[in-house]
Assembly symmetry: C2
């Protein structure tokens, strides 16, 4: 009997049905069932967020791959058209130029007609969003279609326009994450949580980078460096997870589509592993980094000023305001005319990144043999793409650099969805290649170190140049890691990292980054950094820069006065004081709630009604929110800045002995920081 | 005349000496001089911190290299002794065991005699220091010598004890950084700055990891993941800079010492680049990750409990309390006896990490040929080290794993400076190798995918296993990157990352990390995490858990009462209220300052003296410090936790309507978090 009771209750105390009792091994079966139940619970407890991130990664990989596939087809169609159109120069020229013009003007026209935000890379806007500023509608899902179609057209115009897809893709990814987050919140019915949302957006940005380059490590690190000034290790893990899902899916699709045999890097290299570079070459790598740093300053300066010029010049600004597609088409015409292959374009058409990472020295190969100018690019000899009998490798590389410099700047002014990272990366690779080839000619036998000589590999310099230049332009270090992930070799770890650091040292001390520059030009709200040793930021205190003109409500205020205050100002919330006399801050009231409560109340002059003061309304159900964090007038600028940056705050109240004496928002902080950095001239 | 005036004033307005005027090209020379001056100023303005970091990197590399060099010599001497001592078994056994016993007992005795903190890895203590807790003397420079000598002895006992150097090296590096920081503060005369100091310590931790592995990327990322829960991008750049200097110097020394031809990775591999693995193998990699995750849970569980057992068992705890060297010697005797080569040790002596990453399948090589048991290790055939005719590769690998599992746990209890990362890394590599070899036997032709078959490379699995196991034990993801930096190849990026994520998913949901476990066992103060979706932490508010029993002083308190309060409590600082009646918080007073002021004042009962109240003392010059940040009783646990974590706070005052109503420190927070995570059982 006791046995039966034991069975009936089971180890988990569940009652046992008769059927279970008669089946074979009821105990074991029950235990297995219990174990599965536990596992299910465990998975769902840990899960949810992780499922969300995995979905995001896979979804973005699908979009990225579909986009690449479509773009590939359109580009192939353009090539076919150009080849088949006959020998008439006019027809060929038209087929070469009209195609990208049509695509670009459609791209800018279509995306601008749906939403005015869709131009550019989107990373500067995301940066301000992640720093806590609310940009209305920027992450709305309705922008998604505009951005996808626009970006596809941009990419389909190919090497003529020479723009990439990282920036818009990050924006797309964040949009989807925000949308999925809203859907989830609605289905679960859980209250919206700001910090939770931000975590997801940071992870989404990582997915964006990772699915474009299939590079999870650098995807996460690059997005952290570009987007935020602080990050939590927890976010970093989530980013890794989502980025890995995305990158895996992206590469998997390539394998399933028989483009590749297995999941490897995008631009495989085959550098010597045993002695990839001789020790004295480290010096050249650092010098290359410095050169890239100086070039990046020049690029950033010209780019920013040209952008301002285009915005202020009467002709172009009018064109941009009234007919964006026309401006885009004109810019595309200029770019396409220059890349027209029978013209100047023969020196610069269809340059691929992987050719630049070739580990043979083209200068040495072509120096003695002087091979003929190839009619068609030969997949075996990568250098043919860059070779010209009269100008040599150096001529074509230098010409490429000079032309691309201004062409890139012109292309960035076109108001359409486009990424600016990849062209910069390729530009840097060309700089590195040029210097590498020069070194291989200067030291044809290699640099003697310890008896054994190894020829110089210009490909390594191209790698370092790409990482250093793109790192300097974006003010990031993780481009070094990106270079390794893209090529699958990490033998140049130290020299490339040193080049990137040298380039960053120069660029960061002279120019704002590409994204910060755009933020400045677009006049987006942002919080500047307080750089390292600005010790004076510890001496400036909140009292010096806070906004003292605050409109407060007091609990014992007559309702007429409250109405007067509300109608004369339009803040979203008002600080609430205990009484007009004591001025002790007790909380905040939202304007919306207050309006609702006031409208619900019959007017106070109605006969027989008691409500005369604000506290009556509050007692009647108008919600009051607590102030969870307060500054003192003595808080230093440094501390306040840290708080705002770390917690992504919008504004804080300053209280002195319990009284609200002012507020601080990023506007005041920004002003105070610029005063510390560039003290106003004494009058 | 005007020309002369122009010359005299110069463009910079400086007067010109006659000598300058007569030299060639005075203007140009002056301009060059001005340019140089500008550059110098620029370098020093940007500099300082960077020079500090570079010095730190170079210094640590020198120490690391010197240590490696010494250790190498001592190990070689031991080998020589063992070889030359003759054929007597007793003598050989003694020479094998006494050597490490002496080293280990000296290591623990010497380091413990100088400072009791020097045992273990030091990373758990650093973690608590960086979270804002002050551990007195832990970073004192006097511990430096003890730790260096102790660590050298530990490493010199070689493969017998099988411990690494990462942890203590990070501790050394942080010690030096703290010392250099104090020296700098003294010479410059600048006031101590807490946040500045912390920045340096974080960078120093990165240098520590980077100079041991010569791996700057993973050095920075690993130290971030292990040390902190939040990180600023600015610190991350500094870390990269310092780590690069350190890693460069470390590898440079190896080149100068003719050990290597150039600066490359420590354990070079030569995996196939074109098709490093077939797509279906991804599944095996993830499975390997899961296995490593489960194993790491077992390891962490056993290790923590054995540590507790050793501390609570009467015999061992007495031994550890009274004679640490004896305990160490006994443990070393056990370990050395097992690794004695003519005994069981023949299956496990002198295993090197690079052999495990060999890209040939040993099982396939040895399956058919059955080569004889080698007398001496052959540098050409790496697998000979792991081969035994009777037990095959699988037998030796499995035996190695089983034995090392408990030997490692035993070794971690020895109270001497030692790192526990490298042995775990090697253990993981062996796990991966075992599974890789099994797969290569199961699929001798490779896994068919798309017509072409490629043999399985067990080395890739060893790499994934090392990264996954060490990642799971330390709860980090960047071990994957470390594996790539150590081997110089990144072709396995995705599978290794997926294995590491799988291992981490299991380990993080079941066990605290190795370092957190040590923190728990050593009862160090720390702030636990609030994991992802613990949404309830938003609902718990400060009021529920704050410490309400605060001792306050009021300005209108009579001095007798102040003296009474001070003598009855011993807090470092007291909150100061406006008056006993209003209780409005106005600032804090330090006990030390108060004591000084009280002693300086003549007693209030002296005739003709006016001082009766605290406010008189304050007016007389006793400094009062402002409260720069206050919590409200309504602040949520989540917010408070974030604040403490982000700003490394010690304690905060809670004010309600200006009145101090309580304090929150990490003790209260920890209790509140544990209540949220494991709600107390209802009674």
């Amino acid at each position: 009997m006791e046995e039966l009771v034991g069975l009936r209750e089971g180890s988990s105390g569940n009652p046992v049905t008769l059927q279970e009792l008669w089946g074979p091994c009821p105990r074991i079966r029950r235990r297995i069932g219990g174990g599965l139940e536990w596992l299910k619970q465990k998975l769902f407890r840990v899960g949810e967020d992780w499922y969300f991130l995995a979905t995001l990664g896979v979804l973005m990989a699908l979009i990225s791959y579909t986009m690449s596939f479509t773009v590939g087809r359109v580009v192939r169609a353009h090539k076919w058209l150009y080849r088949e159109i006959g020998d008439s120069h006019l027809l060929r020229y038209l087929s070469w130029t009209v195609y990208p013009m049509a695509l670009v003007s459609f791209s800018s026209g279509f995306s601008q007609s749906i939403t005015p935000f869709s131009g550019g890379s989107g990373i500067p806007e995301l940066k301000t969003i992640l720093s806590g500023v609310v940009l209305e509608d920027y992450l709305d899902i309705k922008n998604f279609g505009a951005k996808v179609v626009g970006l596809t057209c941009t990419l389909a115009s190919g090497s003529t326009i020479f723009l990439g897809k990282v920036g818009p893709f990050v924006h797309l990814c964040v949009m989807i994450a925000a949308y999925l987050g809203r859907v989830r919140t609605k289905t679960i019915g859980e209250s919206e949580n700001k910090s939770k949302q931000n975590e997801m957006l940071v992870a989404a940005a990582a997915v964006g980078v990772a699915t474009v380059f299939a590079a999870p490590f650098s995807g996460v690190l690059f997005s952290i460096e570009v987007m935020s000034s602080h990050f939590s290790v927890w976010d970093y893990w989530r980013g890794f997870f989502a980025a890995t899902c995305g990158a895996f899916m992206f590469r998997l699709l390539a394998v399933f589509n028989s483009e590749q045999e297995t999941i490897t890097s995008l631009f495989k290299t085959s550098f010597r592993v045993d002695v990839p570079f001789d020790l004295p070459e480290i010096f050249f790598f650092v010098a290359l980094g410095a050169i890239c740093g100086v070039l990046s300053c020049a690029y950033l300066f010209c780019q920013r000023n040209f952008l301002i010029f285009v915005k202020t010049n009467p002709l172009t600004s009018k064109l941009l305001a009234t007919s964006k597609p026309l401006y885009s088409a004109l810019a595309a015409l200029v770019l396409a005319s220059i890349t027209y292959p029978p013209g100047v374009g023969r020196f610069m058409a269809s340059r691929h990144l992987d050719t630049l990472f070739d580990n043979n020295s083209w200068a040495l190969i072509t120096r003695n043999s002087s091979p003929p100018w190839p009619a068609e690019p030969d997949p075996q000899n990568l250098w043919f793409e860059w070779y010209h009998p009269r100008f040599t490798i150096f001529g074509t590389l230098a010409f490429f650099l000079v032309m691309k410099f201004w062409m890139l700047i012109l292309a960035t002014t076109i108001p359409m969805p486009a990424g600016y990272f990849m062209p910069i990366f390729i530009f840097g690779a060309a700089v590195g290649r040029l210097i590498g080839e020069a070194l291989s000619v200067a030291f044809p036998e290699g640099i003697v170190a310890g008896g054994v000589t190894n020829p110089i590999m210009p490909g390594g310099y191209a790698l370092a140049g790409a990482a250093a230049f793109s790192g300097a332009v974006t003010h990031t270090v993780s481009t070094a890691l990106l270079a390794f992930e893209l090529t699958g070799q990490i033998v140049h770890a130290l020299p490339v990292l040193m080049a990137v650091l040298a380039a960053n040292a120069i660029a960061q001390s002279c120019q704002p980054s590409f994204y910060d520059g755009t933020i400045i030009v677009k006049k987006l709200p942002y919080l500047p950094w307080i750089r390292g040793r600005k010790i004076s930021s510890h001496r400036v205190i909140v009292e010096h820069f806070m906004n003292c003109s605050i409109t407060t409500l007091a609990k014992d205020m007559p309702l007429e006065e409250v109405v007067k205050v509300i109608t004369s100002t339009d803040k979203a919330e008002y600080p609430l004081e205990e009484s007009t006399e004591s001025q002790i801050l007790v909380g905040t009231v939202r304007r919306a709630h207050l309006l609702q409560a006031l409208q619900a109340e019959p007017p106070s002059w109605a006969p027989g009604h008691q409500v005369h003061y604000l506290q009556d309304i509050l007692a009647g159900g108008c919600p009051m929110e607590p102030v969870t964090l307060q500054l003192s007038p003595e808080t230093s600028l440094h501390e306040a800045h840290n708080l705002f940056e770390l917690l992504n705050l919008q504004s804080l109240f300053v209280t002195s002995r319990g009284r609200a004496v002012g507020t601080v928002s990023w506007v005041e902080l920004k002003k105070a920081i610029s005063n510390v950095t560039n003290p106003p001239a004494p009058k």
